[in-house]
């Protein structure tokens, strides 16, 4: 289990990137870390990976502080948003480096390279952005760590590569019990694989929980009226309110039947409930915090 307690980190005096982050990520879960640009997602992942040292608080993995903890770090693999490789290194060379410090299954690595149709002898600098990402994704899956930290995981990957990656992650979680923390702006991709999530805002995790449960708490209704209608007329708190002419879409928290009754009272021409996705949950949450007004 990863436990984050009162974590604080700042790069400049008086400007906290993270201020009092608290979270518990249970074993075998796939945790989606989301937030707007500059929210501190990468900083949080770097702190969990032991790349940066916190100013205050602690990151514990299985009850042990991660900072300078060689044994625990062997159970963690961190894939940053822009991974490092030297000028002439090949995929094989990179694998050799990681094999010198991790227990890595070279066959799995080669299998994934084959799936991605990548040559292990080609210098990585000659690959496109997505292909580079594929090399590192193959590495992560071949190392199969107990804890996998992925920053901007799907960035640059084509839909097919995303599918291979997601399947690889799911089999890692199922077979090895790997815990994955994954930060991405592709919330639709996260929704496919994450079972829990945390929204990072103003240096803190302001909203977190089990994804399916939290999505079930939200209700999205689409309706049409014979007149223009305002948000206030609904008589309950709307997380999101979108109006196109006389067609209205709302997202609200609470009991679905109670919300439907209140909508019916407004005599819509038609009304239907639609499924809420993770992106809408995220947008609703950040809108509620004053963004995108």
């Amino acid at each position: 289990m990863i436990e984050i307690a009162d974590l604080k980190k700042s790069y400049e005096k008086g400007k906290d990137v993270l201020c009092g982050v608290c979270a518990q990520i249970s074993d075998g879960s796939v945790f989606g870390l989301v937030g707007i640009n500059g929210a501190g997602k990468s900083t949080l992942l770097r702190l969990i990976a032991g790349v940066l040292k916190q100013d205050r608080g602690q990151v514990c993995v299985d009850g042990e502080p991660i900072w300078e903890n060689e044994e625990k770090k062997r159970e963690i693999f961190f894939l940053p948003d822009d991974p490092f490789y030297t000028a002439n290194v090949t995929a094989a060379g990179l694998a050799e480096m990681y094999a010198s410090v991790y227990d890595m299954d070279k066959r799995v690595f080669l299998t994934y390279l084959e799936k991605f149709k990548l040559n292990e002898k080609t210098p990585i600098r000659n690959f496109s952005k997505g292909m580079k990402r594929q090399v590192f994704v193959s590495l992560a899956l071949a190392i199969a760590p107990k804890y996998l930290l992925l920053d901007e995981a799907f960035d640059g990957l084509d839909p097919l590569a995303r599918l291979v990656f997601k399947r690889g992650l799911v089999s890692l979680v199922e077979e090895k019990g790997t815990t994955v923390i994954i930060s991405s702006h592709s919330l639709r991709e996260l929704e496919d694989i994450c079972d829990s999530y945390g929204i990072l805002d103003h240096g803190q995790i302001t909203c977190s929980g089990e994804l399916v449960k939290d999505l079930e708490k939200l209700h999205k209704f689409q309706m049409a009226f014979d007149r223009e209608i305002s948000k206030e007329e609904f008589g309950f708190e709307c997380m999101s309110f979108t109006k196109t002419g006389r067609v209205v879409q709302i997202i609200a928290k609470g009991d679905a039947e109670a919300i439907a009754t209140k909508i019916e009272a407004l005599q819509p021409l038609f009304v239907e409930e639609i499924e809420v996705d993770f992106e809408e949950l995220f947008i609703g949450e950040v809108e509620a915090r004053g963004y995108l007004q």
Partner: protein, 335 residues
């Protein structure tokens, strides 16, 4: 750690081969040309040790950037600091690799050159060949000390360019400090001692002395040749590891704020140059401009805050104040 060192060795194998060839071929060509039968105009046949010493010195300046530049790159920091290795182990492996980048090419070149000298020298016995043994180990000692110092200085920086500037800025610092001392106190430190205060001074002095020994001449050793480089080398090695817990990954690519860097040598050089008795208006302007340029390089912008102006102004004021007590105070100079 061993596996990681093995990987690093394999990764740098080509660099080792290329550096060895680049050092060995010119040195072997030069040593093959030595005519051991005829003395030079200086009265002895030159075994060209100075050439191999220059190679050694250059390697000591090139190796730290070769192995430690990862910490000046955010992506490199992400990759290396996330590895399951304690920082001291990572630095130790990188340090050993850098040392091998110095020692292996040097050894290949030294041995190659020695073989030519020994072969050509077989009949005439002009050179004291047994002196090559202490020369070799002495070079390794000076190489180790210089490499340790440069590694410490380079790793104080947050960019590769700053790292090179730090290594080069420290090269004459001790020499100028002795020059300042001479001007200030009228107590001459002595040229030999002063020369050994260059970071490469000990190596240079050792090379000259070993050249004389190899040529069969007597040499009077001075403790200065060894003391300063060894003290600096040991202190740098200790400081490198002692300061590791304070090393921040987020500093990569940022302004190099280390107290061993610009913050130290800009005011020290400014004050020292001003202390020099032979000030004239041209030199004065050059020092001020130099200090401002160095601060611009340091802060990476042309507008810097008042505290940096105070630093330059303070250094000039201290320099001028000290100048008044020097052997040649500026008011006594007749222009």
């Amino acid at each position: 750690m061993r596996k990681f060192l093995k990987y690093e060795l394999k990764k740098h194998l080509w660099a080792l081969v290329v550096l060895s060839v680049v050092c060995a071929i010119p040195y072997m060509i030069v040593t093959s040309q030595i005519d051991t039968h005829y003395p030079t105009i200086y009265g002895y046949v030159d075994p060209s040790l100075s050439m191999i010493a220059v190679f050694l010195g250059l390697l000591c300046f090139l190796a730290p950037p070769f192995v430690f530049s990862f910490k000046m790159n955010k992506r490199g920091v992400d990759a290396y600091y996330a590895l399951p290795l304690k920082r001291w182990k990572l630095y130790l492996v990188k340090g050993i690799m850098g040392l091998l980048l110095v020692f292996i090419p040097f050894t290949v070149a030294f041995l190659g050159g020695f073989l030519f000298v020994a072969g050509a020298n077989a009949e005439s016995h002009v050179f004291q060949l047994r002196m090559y043994v202490p020369a070799y180990f002495g070079f390794l000692l000076f190489g180790l000390c210089l490499y340790a110092l440069n590694t410490f200085l380079f790793t104080r920086a947050n960019t590769v360019a700053d790292g090179f500037i730090f290594m080069l800025a420290y090269l004459p610092l001790g020499y100028f400090a002795a020059e300042w001392y001479n001007n200030f106190t009228a107590l001459d430190v002595g040229y030999k001692a002063q020369e050994s205060l260059l970071t490469v001074g000990g190596l240079s002095d050792f090379t000259n002395k070993m050249t004389r020994l190899i040529c069969g001449n007597a040499v009077k050793w001075s403790a200065w040749t060894f003391v300063f480089p060894i003290v600096l080398g040991v202190a740098a090695s200790v400081l490198l590891f002692v300061t590791l817990p304070f090393e921040k990954g987020e500093n990569a690519e940022q302004i190099s704020e280390s107290w061993f860097g610009y913050k130290l040598f800009i005011p020290v050089y400014t004050a020292m140059f001003f202390t020099d008795g032979y000030l004239d208006i041209g030199l004065l302007c050059m020092i001020v401009v130099g200090a401002i340029v160095a601060t611009v390089v340091f802060r990476r912008k042309f507008r810097f805050s008042w505290k940096w102006w105070v630093m330059i102004g303070g250094a000039i004021a201290i320099g001028l104040l000290l100048n008044t007590f020097s052997v040649h105070p500026f008011w006594k100079i007749v222009v």
